[in-house]
Every structure is written in C-alpha cells, then in structure tokens.
C-alpha cells in the first residue's frame, strides 16, 4: 500500500519512517506561476506608476497576461491537495496563524485590483465597441451577443468625454500603485510559506520572501518579453501577407520598430532584477556556509554534491550567468533577448525546483537523504495529478486564457487606433 509521495521518493541512509517528498512538482509550479503573475504585473506598473513611457505597449500586454495567469496560480495547489474538494475551506474557514490561510484574502484582493485596473484601461474600448455594435445595421446573432457582452462590460459607465477619461487615467495610476505592494505580497507570502517552516533547514530564512519576489519579477518580465516577441513575430508574418490599404494592414517597419524598442528596454529592466535576485541567493548560500549550523553538513551534501548539477549548472550557469552575458553583450537583438528569456525562465524554474525539491532532499534526521524521481509515466491518480498531465495542464492554461481574454480586451488595440489617428493627421 503506497503512501502519498512514496511512488517518487527513494530514501538513502537513515530517514524517519514517515518522511517522503510530499511536496512535489505542483508545489514547484505554484510559486513559479504566482511569480509570473506578480512579475508581469510589476512590469506593467513600470509604465502605469513610474511613467516609463517607452514601455507603454508591453505594459498593457503584461497587465492582461498577468490576469490570464492569475487563475492558474491556484491550479497547482488544487492539484496537489489530497482533498481537493475541501480546498475552498482555506477561503471559508481560514486559520490565520497559517501562512496558507492568507491565500484567499491576498489572492482575491490582487484579482480585484488587476480586474479593476484592466477595466479602467479598457473602459473606453468597451464603450466604443458597444456603441459601434449598437449602431451597426443588419446585426447577426453573434454581433447581438457581442453587443450584450460589451454593454455589460461597461458596467453602465458610458461617459467617454475627455474629463471622464482623465479620471480613468488617474484611477489606473492608483490601482497600479496599490497593485505593486499587493503583487509583492502575493508572492512574498509564497516565499513566507517556505521561509517560516522552522523544521526545514534549507527553507528557513527571512530572506526567502525577498528572494522569491526578486526571482518572481525576473521570471515575469522574461515571460512577458518572450511571449511579446512571439506575438509580435506573428503580427509581422500577418503584416507581410496583407496588402497596403486593406483592412487590418499594418506597416511592417512600424511593428519591427515598436518590438525592437520595447524588447531592448525590457531587457534592461530584466537585468537589474536578475542582479538583485542572484545577489540575494548567493548571500543566502554564503551565509549558510559561514554560520554552519547543525544542519550544514546535510545541506552541504545536498547543495555541493547531490544537487550540484541542478544548482550550479542548470540554475546558476544556464539560468543566470549565460542569459546575463547574452543580455549584456553589446548590440542586443530581439532574437537574442528572446532566447536569453527562455534561459532565464528555465533558471527561475530550476530555482523553484531546487528550493522545493532540494528542501526535501535531506531528512530531518540529518543522517539520510531523499531522491525525487519525476513520474514521467503516470501509473495512478497521484502521478497523473502530480505528473506530466498535471504539469501540462498548468503550463498551457494561461495561454488559452490569454487567447480568450484577448478577444475582449485586445492588447494591441490602442496601438492600432493610434496608428490610424497618426495617419489621419498626416
């Protein structure tokens, strides 16, 4: 009879009989996904709060993407619960001495803030679309449904005079301003969940929430940069197919120019946060070695022997140093920045892996070790939920959600409109 975790755990030397790797791949995915949410939001706030005007285009993209990622942050938690149908009790009967109990409040506050901000950003678009549909002659059923949806999305606020839009703009600034600390809290508290486990020598450090926030911002920016580049490449392809003067035509040069500009600037912010994240992680390692508490012998064995490939090669070399050099190297191109982002995303994933799985790689006895073997071939429900199908579901959902969201809050609409206006002026 298998106990939870037994299927993927190998014990070596003396380990307490009840110890297993109970927190597996989904708990690696959880901080990874919330990190992406928080990071994408911070990127969008660079424009909305700090007025980095050059990031206007990617900011809107990042905001909507952050919203698409949000429901997905919850999925890995549900997939790892032994009683997923009772998961709602975390929200209904929270026990506030537990870090996890804060999840419901932080998560819903954050969701409300992002939704509000998106609404203010897109209110004008909702009103314009709904009005256009209302005035459209010979409406089909689909147009009727769309009109209904967009009218509902306006929430009855139809005023799009300049003063009203000015107020919207202010509201966006305020929501983005409140959003930054809440986004940091959303992810910092995920770090706190680990950092406050005093029983785990690797996790317990007050640096953990800060490290988590920094790496979250790194991963969020990297993902936005990557997806943004891919979407823009797609738009370039489309632009090539369409003839000038036809509906939806866009100047190839213009797209290329915007993409180039946004990607290069984003890459700079990415580097700043990479330096912060890397410094904190190294500080943590050095501190542990220097203070050499009782647990250090076991930790050293894990960090410098058993997990050295995962930590030094995969996380630090491929995930940190290599992309950093790629970004720093002169004459950066969009392609190079995108490839560097892939390495960064991989590096942050390995960081989550090394924290979650690495933290369970040694026994509380400090005499023994536990190896985690990812269940590539699912054999029971447990390894379906916490194996390839579960991971695939979590990884793919944000993109599906983003696709659907984009139907209602199109991330590039403003840019196209402005382009048209510029043409009219000319």
């Amino acid at each position: 009879m298998l106990v939870h975790g037994e299927i993927w755990t190998t014990k070596e030397y003396f380990v307490y009989p009840n110890e297993y790797v109970t927190w597996a791949i989904q708990i690696v995915m959880y901080p990874y996904m919330t990190g992406l949410v928080a990071g994408a939001f911070v990127l969008s706030s660079l424009y909305h709060v700090f007025g980095v005007k050059q990031l206007k285009d990617i900011a809107r993209f990042a905001l909507v993407f952050s919203f698409a990622l949000l429901p997905v942050a919850m999925m890995p938690l549900l997939l790892h619960l032994q009683q997923p149908f009772r998961g709602i009790e975390v929200m209904m009967t929270p026990h506030f001495t537990s870090a996890i109990a804060a999840f419901g409040i932080v998560f819903s506050t954050y969701a409300a803030i992002v939704a509000t901000e998106i609404w203010f950003v897109y209110r004008k678009y909702f009103v314009e679309t709904a009005t256009a549909l209302k005035n459209k002659p010979n409406k089909g059923m689909i147009d009727g449904i769309r009109q209904l949806i967009f009218s509902a999305l306006t929430l009855g606020a139809w005023d799009i005079s300049n003063e009203a839009l000015e107020k919207d703009h202010k509201a966006i600034g305020i929501m983005a301003g409140i959003g930054i600390p809440v986004a940091c809290f959303l992810h910092g508290y995920a770090g706190f969940i680990f950092g406050s486990v005093k029983a785990n020598a690797l996790w317990m450090t007050p640096l953990m929430p800060v490290i988590f926030i920094m790496s979250a911002v790194v991963s969020g920016i990297a993902l936005c940069l990557l997806v943004y580049t891919i979407v823009m490449e797609g738009r370039k392809r489309l632009a090539k197919l369409k003839k000038p003067g036809t509906h939806g035509y866009q100047d190839l040069k213009h797209i290329r120019g915007v993409e180039d500009h946004e990607v290069k600037l984003t890459a700079k912010y990415l580097m700043i946060f990479m330096i912060l994240a890397f410094t904190l992680e190294i500080l943590d390692l050095v501190f542990r070695g220097y203070t050499a508490m009782k647990s250090w012998d076991a930790l050293r064995e894990v960090l410098y022997k058993r997990d050295i490939f995962k930590l030094v090669v995969l996380q630090y070399a491929i995930g940190n140093v290599l992309p950093f050099i790629m970004l720093l190297w002169p004459r950066i191109t969009v392609k190079r920045a995108a490839i560097a982002s892939v390495f960064v995303l991989f590096g942050v994933f390995m960081m989550r892996w090394n924290v979650v799985i690495g933290g369970q790689a040694f026994s509380s006895t400090f005499h023994g070790f536990m190896d985690y073997h990812f269940p590539w071939i699912p054999r029971n429900m447990e390894s379906v939920k916490e194996g390839p199908p579960g991971v695939f579901l979590v990884a793919v959902t944000p993109f599906i959600l983003f696709y659907i969201l984009n139907k209602f809050v199109p991330v590039f609409v403003g840019e196209e409109k402005e382009k048209e206006k510029e043409k009219e002026k000319a």
Partner: protein, 257 residues
C-alpha cells in the same frame, strides 16, 4: 414618563448592568478551566529499557487502524550504532514493526550495512512518537484549523476537515506526521486520546513488555511520570526548535535527535 427621566433611567440600568456583566467576559468559564486543567498528559520514554522488540509499533498500528503494510507509523523505534571511530549509524526497518531481528543496518537504498561487533562503541534503541508539543508548529500552520491542541495536551486532526495540503507534515521537525494511505488526510500519534479518556493507557504503553514507555498526568504530583519529570535528569528531542515537547526521555544520547 418624561423623555428626560426615561433616558436617565436607561443610562443607570446600562451602567449598573455593565459591571456584573463584564465579569462574564473577564471570567469565561472555559478560560478558567483551561488555565488550571486537572489533566496535562506527559509521556516518558526510558531509552535504557528499550530492547527494540517492536511490540509498541504492532500495538499502535492495530489500535489506530494504520495499514499494516503501509510504510508509515504513528510510533516507531530507532536503532543507533556508534562505532569506536565516532561514526553514527542508525536505522528503522519497517518502522521497527517486526522488531530488530538482524544485526545488519537497513540503510534504505544504500543497502544493508554490517558493522563488526568489535568496532561498536555503543548501541541502543530509541522509541519515538508524537511529542504533543506545547508550542506545536503543526497546529500553527494548518490553514483550516483541522489540527488543534486539546486542553489536556495531545494534538488532534479533524479527519473531516483536513484538506491534505501537507503543510503540517513539512512543519513537524520530528517526522511524526504523514498522510493516511487510505483516508488521504494528515495523520499522527494522538497518545491514544480515545483510550486515555476511558481511563486506559495508550496502546504502546500497554504493549511494552519492559516499561520503557509510560504516560502520566503532570497535574498529579503522585504520578510516577510527574515525579520522574521533576526529579530525574531527562531530555527532550530538538529543544532548539522551541516546540516545547511533552514527551520526555531518560538516557537520551547526543547522537539522537
């Protein structure tokens, strides 16, 4: 009645009633009872008496419905072997369910380790179980309050409420918690709370042929466990975590943690 008089009267009634009513708040009978409970369970393990027969583990698994073949247990026995060179070996084959019948140490995937009797400086057994900490990290981290501390000590799990997040399992420094393989909720030693409240001892205490395990009431000064805790030189496991364990050990060696 004039409005003025009515208001005066009302103020007097409220002010007058406030004082005796506040006593109810100041002296909640539950708080008063909890401050001075007549029961406070403590466990005493005399490691010098343990021979590693595993009867306690057998009794526990049977009493508490932990599947016999599942590789988890609410209580277990560890064997320590310290060589003359100072190297510490330890093992716990099948939670010591079947006792220690082989001189070979079961080091899991590292295989069976044989140590020459001439090289051994000392060897001993240590029974383990939940420490029912006074400052329990498991109850602290439960996000839904399914794990809670009873007024008389033991920490229990509400099986109908546990969501199975595993946070309590991670937070226990003693490895006392695990997922029940059938019920899929967190499980742990309760010091047989159901038996204690029927005036019985725990299953493991009852099964130990050598008196290595005892349970007693710290509020009773004549209880042999209380006397041992007060008079003898006893230790607790991993005191540095600040969990304030309520399982006390006689003859604890520095190799044990």
């Amino acid at each position: 009645m004039e409005r003025r008089n009515f208001l005066k009267g009302a103020i007097m009634v409220v002010a007058g009633a406030a004082v005796p009513m506040s006593a109810l708040e100041l002296m909640d009978p539950r708080d008063v009872l909890a401050a001075n409970p007549d029961l406070k369970w403590a466990f005493l393990v005399d490691t010098t008496k343990c021979v590693g027969c595993g009867m306690c583990v057998k009794a526990c698994k049977t009493e508490n419905g932990i599947p016999w073949t599942a590789n988890v247990s609410r209580t277990w026995v560890e064997r320590y072997v310290v060589t003359k060179e100072g190297k510490v070996w330890a093992d716990c084959p099948k939670q010591a369910r079947d006792g220690f019948t082989s001189p070979l140490l079961d080091e899991n995937s590292a295989g069976m380790v044989s140590i020459q009797p001439d090289d051994i400086a000392k060897g001993f057994f240590v029974p383990k179980l939940c420490n029912q900490c006074d400052n329990p990290p498991c109850a602290q981290v439960c996000p839904v309050g399914a794990t809670y501390k009873t007024p008389d000590g033991p920490i229990l799990v509400d099986r109908t409420w546990c969501i199975g997040c595993g946070y309590c399992i991670q937070s226990c420094p003693y490895g006392a918690r695990f997922f029940h393989p059938v019920l899929h909720v967190a499980d742990k030693c309760t010091w047989c709370y159901h038996r204690l409240h029927h005036g019985m001892k725990t299953a493991c205490v009852g099964a130990c042929p050598f008196g290595a395990r005892q349970i007693g009431n710290l509020r009773d000064p004549n209880d042999p466990v209380t006397q041992a805790v007060l008079d003898d030189r006893i230790g607790v496991l991993k005191a540095y975590f600040g969990t304030k364990p309520q399982a006390f050990y006689i003859g604890l060696s520095k190799e044990v943690d």
